[in-house]
Amino acid sequence: MPKGFDLDSLAEELTPVKPLSANSAMGGIIFLTIVGGIFIIATLGFRDNFMDATATDPMFLIRSGLLLVLGAASLSAATSMARPAVGISRTGWRWAAAAALIIPIAAATAALVSRTPVAERLHPANGVECLTYSIGVGLVLGAALTWWLRRGAPTSPERAGIVTGLAAGSLGTLAYSMHCPHNDIVYIGLWYTLATGVTTLAGRLLVPRLIRW
């Protein structure tokens, strides 16, 4: 062994550590998502007539459900990446992401055959608000997840970055979706996809530098 290194001194440096728990990381992120949702509701309010009609609106249920599943799948992949092991496969999130892609594809198709001008269906002012809040909450979640991954040993920093961004974006958008009054597929297909896409890209570009070891 080269000078300055021997196993005895390494062993001497040993201090007890608490094994990382993926469950508590997931719990923490879920808690933060709920806090984000409460923040959105407190500042912007619930969707109109939430308890009467819109909570059971099919489009609201579909988008919230998809975001929830996508968020859960990518969150579970991201948190488990902190604890590596050869032989573990974490591909479940890809299927959830593929399922979620149905929304922008359906939206694009609907936009192509739309009788109303598409520009009128996009409500850019609301769209910008959607992006701001979804990405804002997503950033907090992404930062928390990145901090968690830094403590662990992710062997594929790029992929960990992607799932971190995806989890942060889908859960951030889920929190905003409690307020979002729109039910139009074209609106949701553009802005929600954009919000989640931006955080995923940011995760891919920024997170790997922070979590390499």
Partner: protein
């Protein structure tokens, strides 16, 4: 390892010794012999720094192998260049547990990438040939050798935890 996470220095020292032996075998012929010691040392330090990432409810070896593979690829990336290429026969001849090696060995990782990429990586990154020598030996053009190394490393890095 679970004992080590609790702070048992004696158990940890024993474990480190065993890991050192295991890693030397694991990396034998998969890295230039002159940097083998460095790599083993770096891996043990990573093991130490990342010891909280071991899940005590799971098997130890797959965790160690994941860390070892990550450090190995990291070392291959640092362009080691050396003139003398001598295989450390003593280590290379060391019998390793075939069942374990088959599952988590580095051959497996090399096996995941196309042959030409694996060949370019072996010649340049492990045996220390120059790009030009490798090009001559394999018939791949110099730029193709570089591309093959780059692609192969990227692919292996992405597959560290897959079998």
């Amino acid at each position: 390892m679970a004992l080590a996470q609790d702070g048992d220095k004696g158990a940890y020292r024993t474990l480190l010794g065993e890991c050192e032996t295991w890693l030397k075998r694991y990396y034998a012929r998969k890295i230039g012999p002159h940097v083998l010691e460095d790599l083993v040392q770096d891996t043990l330090i990573s093991l130490h720094r990342k010891r909280a990432s071991y899940d005590p409810t799971r098997a130890f070896l797959p965790w160690l192998a994941a860390i070892a593979r990550y450090r190995w690829i990291d070392h291959l990336r640092k362009a080691y260049r050396t003139k003398e290429v001598e295989l450390n026969e003593e280590l290379a001849a060391d019998p390793s547990d075939p069942a374990v090696a088959a599952k988590i060995g580095l051959e497996r990782l090399m096996g995941l990438i196309p042959e030409k990429q694996a060949l370019a990586i072996t010649l340049v990154k492990i045996q220390g040939l120059t790009i030009a020598e490798t090009s001559q030996k394999t018939g791949q053009s110099e730029s193709l050798v570089k591309v093959n190394i780059h692609r192969g490393m990227k692919r292996m890095a992405a597959a560290i935890e897959e079998e």
